[in-house]
Amino acid sequence: MNCQLLKDHKERVWQVAWHPNGQILASCSSDKTIKLWQLMNDQYKLIQTLDECHTKSVRSVSFSKDGQFLASGGFDTVVGVWMYDGSKYKLIQQLEGHESEVKGVAWSADSNYLASCGRDKTVWIWDHEDLEFSCNCVLQAHDEDVKCIKWKDTTLYSGSYDNSVIRYTYGEDDEWDHKQFQIEHQSTIWSIDIFNKLLLSTSADCTAKVFSIQDGTLKPIQTLQGFHKEPIYSGSFSYDGLYFALGSADNKISVFKKDAIDELGYPHYALDQIFDAFEFDVNCVAFNPKNYLLAACSDDENIKVFNLQL
């Protein structure tokens, strides 16, 4: 297996996120910066360091689906919005309102909404007009720290320290409705990823679960347990849903492959490989949107892009 080491952050790297073109990778760190890396001649080069927004750790980073925007969430309670100006990403606005650390940021598929979530138990939805962002809604549906959020088109899912997943949908009377799912994780839900009608949740209970999004509910399909002995902080589907990867506090990454479809049409995933990835906790894994490259980052301050040879 090939692996490229992207080394420049001075402290733990919290998240990595791919640009929709699959060529640029964003990373964010406790060193208060976001770094952008571009694939040039088969090597990743640091092309930009964004350091003018956050005064504390940057916890989350995410590109919009059209690549026009980049959002960041920090422990300083600020959500940063950056825009591509033709040659680089520029900070266009700092969104304030969260009472405590922001843990996740995510763009809706049409880029109309930006969601942020945090320790103050809320999910904030921001919209924009003429590139000016303002708050659309503040949703306090979780009882505890909201660790992650993920859009499926214009429906939003959040995962929390309260062990539940909540789904938010925009209702007719200008309000966002929500529904809570107790999906039988025994502990914090650290990440959510979605591929078509599949939802992948990873948890501090050392398991990952796959659900089918159907009939307004989350139907459990599979639980992956016994592969990691520590919390699983991140999960990511490959662009075609054929694989997903998990990153854990045990320093390992596991990769699962869809190996069967049952009589009801639901996929089954089996372990393809598991390996030591870093010196310390794996905080985030992210499959490239165009191929099987897997980016990952760690408490050991490193970022690696793996060519898993799948």
Binding site: T77, L95, E96, G97, E99, S100, R119, D120, K121, T122, W124, S134, C135, N136, C137, V138, Q140, D143, E144, D145, Y161, D173, D174, S187, T188
Partner: protein
């Protein structure tokens, strides 16, 4: 989310999982509430063993320690607590806010004045003197008009709402807190005045955050206890069922005004009186919706349609956030903003009686409560005098402080 946390001296590492907290202050507090819609979360510590440990992970995930959660504070201001306390005092008093009374009237199916007379009878039997808070709303409004006339601060932000105040103190810089009106809320003015003649003072309010307002150091415990409308509903219902009540039509007064389209009585009309104090005859007042119906801009034009000033009424956290961002980027053009934490204002407060979700929505209910608030009352006027006693408060700047103590 709005309320601050209380900090009690050091929390020991081991908390025995039980219904009662080990801290002396909390000894008599039962952690079970009758109202199932109020959720207490004593089980914040995830542990399978007999002894619960608080780990760093738990602490970092939590935004209020188990022993310091406002839910426990709120519990110490319960109906039971009130009923016990009034027996131990010679001269207790209770004030009812117009929003709470409107909510009770609607649900229990009485007119506002009948409701007040029933409450008067109920509390009289408990040796508690009932007050209508309208006179104290009047003082707060008069003080606000005077402050507005004398201030150089723009925008001046109404600070009657404790939810907004707690949020501001926790998350905003001193530079913005300096924009906040220093006038005490009607509840606090009520306490400051009544404590001369009463040894125990209670209020009935449409939200829980008023309980936190009452315990603020700046308010020196003038108010002993705050009950939300919901907490007292059942007690009143039971009383009505078992007593011989003869509800009377008594004359009530009000500061609520609802003559103009832009008037909104839900949170005591602060903005409308401020505007009224600046508008001359033949001037035009126009309102427009900015972003949503809880963010209203009101523009004043003189007789030649030259723009004089702009004001705003901002309800709900999402709109507050947008207003704050205007103030921070210095694009805020309002002279005075009536800010309230609850969408639709105090009539829709978190402590009001909830109507079943399928039968009535807030948008339909609130206009009905407004009608109740305004109907058949003697209109109180603002006073023109320049010299009036000002009831003022202070704010904390706790955004970056790690050791905040009440």
């Amino acid at each position: 989310m709005f309320s601050s946390t209380i900090k009690i001296s050091s929390v020991s590492d081991y908390i025995i999982p039980s219904q009662e907290c080990i801290k002396p202050l909390m000894k008599n507090v039962k952690l079970q509430l009758d109202d199932p819609s109020i959720q207490l979360k004593p089980n914040l510590i995830k542990n399978q063993n007999n002894v619960a440990k608080v780990s760093l992970q738990d602490c970092l995930a939590c935004s209020g320690c188990v022993t310091t959660a406002e839910t426990i504070l709120i519990q110490t201001q319960s109906l039971d607590e009130f009923l016990q306390a009034i027996k131990k005092h010679q001269n207790p008093a209770i004030g009812i806010s117009p929003q709470s009374r409107a909510s009770l009237s609607y649900v229990l199916n009485f007119t506002d004045s009948e409701m007040h007379s029933i409450l008067h009878q109920l509390f009289q039997e408990l040796n508690v003197k009932l007050y209508d808070m309208s006179e104290y709303v009047k003082i707060a409004i008069n003080n606000s008009i005077q402050e507005f006339k004398q201030t150089k601060i723009t925008p001046l932000l109404c600070s009657e709402c404790p939810g907004w105040v707690c949020y501001a103190e926790k998350t905003l810089d001193e530079s913005i807190i300096n924009h906040m009106s220093k006038v005490k809320s009607p509840q606090q003015i009520f306490g400051a005045i009544l404590k001369k003649n009463h040894d125990y003072i209670a209020t009935i309010m449409p939200c829980y955050d008023k309980k936190l307002e009452a315990v603020r150091q700046e308010n020196s415990e003038d108010i002993n206890i705050v009950l939300s409308t919901r907490e007292i509903e059942q007690y009143i219902k039971d009383y009505i069922q078992k007593s011989q009540i003869t509800p009377q039509q008594i004359q009530l007064s009000t500061m609520a005004i609802n003559f103009q389209e832009y008037h909104n009585i839900s949170s005591n009309n602060y903005l409308d009186y401020i505007i009224q104090s600046t508008v001359m005859p033949n001037w035009t007042v126009k309102q427009n919706i900015r972003k949503n119906k809880d963010f209203i801009e009101i523009t004043i034009y003189n007789e030649e349609m030259v723009l004089q000033s702009i004001y705003a009424r901002v309800f709900g956290l999402k709109n507050i956030a947008n207003l704050i961002s205007q103030i921070k980027t210095k694009t805020c053009k309002y002279k005075y903003v009536e800010i309230m934490a609850c969408p639709l204002g105090c009539l829709n407060g978190g402590g009001q009686i909830q109507i079943q979700k399928n039968t009535e929505k807030a948008n339909d209910l609130i206009p009905k409560l407004k009608d109740i608030m305004i109907s058949q009352k003697i209109q109180l006027e603002t006073t023109q005098q320049n010299e009036q006693e000002m009831y003022l408060t202070q704010f904390k700047h706790i955004k970056n402080e790690s050791n905040f103590q009440w």
